[in-house]
Amino acid sequence: MPRKRKADKAIKEEIKMELTPMIDVTFLILIFFLCTLKFKTLEGKLLSYLPQDQGLTSKPDPIPKEDAEIRIRVPRTEWKKNEPLERTVQFMKGSTNHEFGRSTGVVIGSDGRVSGFKLNPPDTMDRILEFLKRVKKEVPDTKAKINAWPQAPHVYVVQIQNLMMQAGFREINFSGIPKTLVEDLQSGKLH
């Protein structure tokens, strides 16, 4: 009988679990997660749909009467934070292709606001928005197109897209770039 008790004790000792390696591994996992942790950052997005039957076109397309088009013309200078850049914003409406005002030298600050004028154009970003709203109200089916130069900083294109959305445009078209410019981009000529 005492022998049986001894055997039970031996079995009990044998099944005792060694915790040290598990704690080591657990701590390693914990340190790994602590080091790699990056909290999810909240971002926003602007939705758009590309045409399904064809891509962006780089060919000049005839502008229907009711179309509005904003062209951003940007000099070949680098975009630098907190430094205003000279750029030309042209707003074209209808087949007459006239510019919106005489906006030949609008200076857009890095905050997206028009901070000064090179020449004396009568328009500002707010007035472009006002104009877009009016066009949209008068002709609800108006489509908008952003014809940005490949050298234009992305931030300005987003601002123009945002303006168009503020004005109520649901369908915004983007102009594409020809094959030669794609090659120039890849070879670094457009950097």
Partner: protein
């Protein structure tokens, strides 16, 4: 006497040993917490400064199989040394793409419009979609996978244009070439930051 001292000594030894169970519980709870809140999809997000837009929709990242293309700015401090100047400044799945052709091929593989489960048969307004064409008798529809384009605000828009063309139709290719090589993605999301948000980075 000696026996009594030994017994007391053994009791003292037992008293100084600490109970590991609560510590293990706490550590396991911490691990579970970190595992839950760690978002592994962040590996697709490169460091860049997003442009601001007032009308941005909140990006909840609800679609798990969304594809993400990062157009980085090599001039940013955090990206210096990571960007090969001889390749496009475009990162896909944590790796800089060798060329636009390479990006197109990789997106085609991931958004494969030839697979039935990847085919979008209903348009954005709920209307039925017609096939874009046929390959070996199989209809080709646009891919149902959306593409998030994250472009640094100081980067030139030309790269975004190239990505837009690479995921749909590239200039200079015939229609049958396009159908066999294009990812045929048409749902595009442009990542932006909210105006009050001055954060930098994101991945």
């Amino acid at each position: 006497m000696a026996k009594e001292r030994r017994q007391r000594g053994a009791r003292d030894e037992e008293e100084v040993g600490f109970n590991m169970t609560p510590m293990i519980d706490v550590v396991f709870n911490l691990i579970i917490f970190f595992m839950v809140i760690t978002d592994m999809t962040q590996k697709d997000l490169e460091y860049l400064i997003l442009p601001k837009a007032q009308l941005a929709l909140e990006d909840k990242g609800e679609q798990k199989d969304r594809l993400i293309v990062n157009i980085v700015n090599p001039r940013l401090k955090d990206m210096q040394g990571r960007v090969d100047p001889n390749k496009p400044p475009i990162f896909y799945r944590g790796r800089q793409v060798a060329s636009i052709k390479d990006l197109r091929a990789r997106l085609r593989r991931d958004a494969n419009p030839m697979l039935r489960e990847n085919q979008e048969r209903v348009g954005p307004d709920g209307e039925p979609m017609a096939p874009l064409g046929h390959i070996a008798g199989e209809p080709v529809y646009p891919s149902n996978k959306p593409l998030l384009v994250r472009c640094d605000q100081g980067q030139i828009f030309g790269w975004v244009q190239v990505v837009m063309q690479a995921v749909s139709f590239m200039p200079g290719q015939t229609r049958s070439e396009q159908l066999t090589t294009s990812p045929l993605i048409y749902k595009l999301e442009t990542a932006v930051a909210e105006p009050s948000d001055t954060k930098e980075g994101g991945g």
